[in-house]
Amino acid sequence: MKRLIFFSVLIAVTIFSVQMAPAQDLTSLKEATRGIRSVKAEFLQTRSLQILTKPLFSEGRLFFYVPDSLRWEYFSPLRSVMLRKGNNIKIYNFSNGAWTPEMPQAVESRRMVLEEISHWFQGRFDESKAFKHFYSPGPPERVILVSNEGINRFINRIEIVLSARPGVIDRVEIEEPGGSRTSIEFKNVEINSSFSSEVFEKP
């Protein structure tokens, strides 16, 4: 019986420490990303919805340049691109052989998303206005973002799984109220490769 209680406490402490450890090592995480000027990667997004028997897959790529230039692009099933350069945000959809700008209301609603993603690539989790962050040393090393009041209507938590390569994100898991989930797996990640700044301006 004593052994059972001991193991129960051990399991509870382990789970708690994984989910809610203070961000004591975020400083070293930031340090690891200090040398990163740019990120280029491809990704596979798996969207699991309560309404769907099978998940929905999306493929895309991203370009990031410090501190706040981001291109987040989907090739399928909807071809679209979100561009951020400073405070300037543009979204385009590819339709009938041409890029068409997204409605202004839809652009503003993505501003927070793009700002958050930009923080992730620089280890600036403490600058988030929407999430509290917790660090888990792993392995694999993880940062858990728990949504603040208001955001929790849409997202419960985000888990960012870090690669053994300093500053590289392997996977992002997003949990929503109601049981829907999104998993984004990054591949072919290139750090500090060169590309034209036009990728942040033109679709």
Binding site: Q45, R47, I51, P77, L78, M82, E102, R110
Partner: protein, 217 residues
């Protein structure tokens, strides 16, 4: 003699022109038989299904691309509709039941009650047949089905087409004006059209172009 010839030529010309102006006779429509009645429902899924569509919405000159997920239970006339942004965020999630619409989630600008009822009305129009039997129906000799749901002083609906040529659904208001038009194009996958285009004219004009991405029975 010459005058007679001229008159003959004029008459011949007039006759040719007249033939050209005679309206092409409509293929004879056989009266509605019970066999044909099922054709009025051919474009609506008969079994429970779930589908994902790419939606290109054009409203007041602005356009937006979305993903539309629909799940239906035709026997209970239940529908669930979810709109996703291209990144996969849920913008709108609602269910239509017999006793009304339950909105689970709605993000601006999709959060007004008018949007919810309008969207669920469109989804119902696209995926569920009218609740009553058609008042008239029949099949033309070329295989085209014509089904009409008419009630005096009420909105009415007409479905025409065939699996080969595609289908058209028209909805009139009580003033006799077309308020919605849907064009369905094949091939049909699990009872769902590969492409659908909905044009609405009232109260505000908009167009939805939908392309089927995946469907499960």
């Amino acid at each position: 003699m010459i005058r007679r010839k001229r008159l003959d030529i004029c008459l011949l010309g007039f006759l040719i022109l007249s033939i050209g102006c005679v309206p092409k006779s409509k293929p004879a429509m056989s009266p509605g038989s019970l066999e044909d009645l099922s054709g009025c429902y051919a474009i609506f899924p008969a079994e429970p299904w779930e589908s994902v569509h790419k939606i290109e919405a054009t409203i007041r000159g602005s356009s937006s691309s979305l993903l539309g997920v629909t799940k239906g239970e035709p026997s209970e006339r239940r529908l669930q509709s979810v709109l996703l942004s291209s990144e996969g965020f849920i913008l709108f999630d609602a269910e239509r039941r017999e006793n009304g619409i339950a909105v689970r989630k709605a993000v601006a600008p999709f959060d007004s009650p008018a949007f919810a009822s309008g969207l669920m009305e469109d989804v119902t129009f696209l995926f569920l047949p009218p609740t009553t039997e058609p008042t008239t129906w029949g099949k033309e000799t070329d295989g085209t089905m014509i089904c009409k749901w008419e009630e005096p002083d009420n909105p009415h609906t007409e479905i025409t087409g065939s699996m080969d040529s595609g289908w058209r659904i028209l909805r009139w208001d009580k003033y006799g004006e077309v308020i919605k038009e849907v064009v369905l194009s094949g091939p049909f996958l699990n009872g769902l059209a590969s492409r659908m285009e909905l044009r609405a004219s009232k109260p505000a004009p908009y167009r939805l172009r939908m392309t089927l991405i995946q469907a499960f029975p």
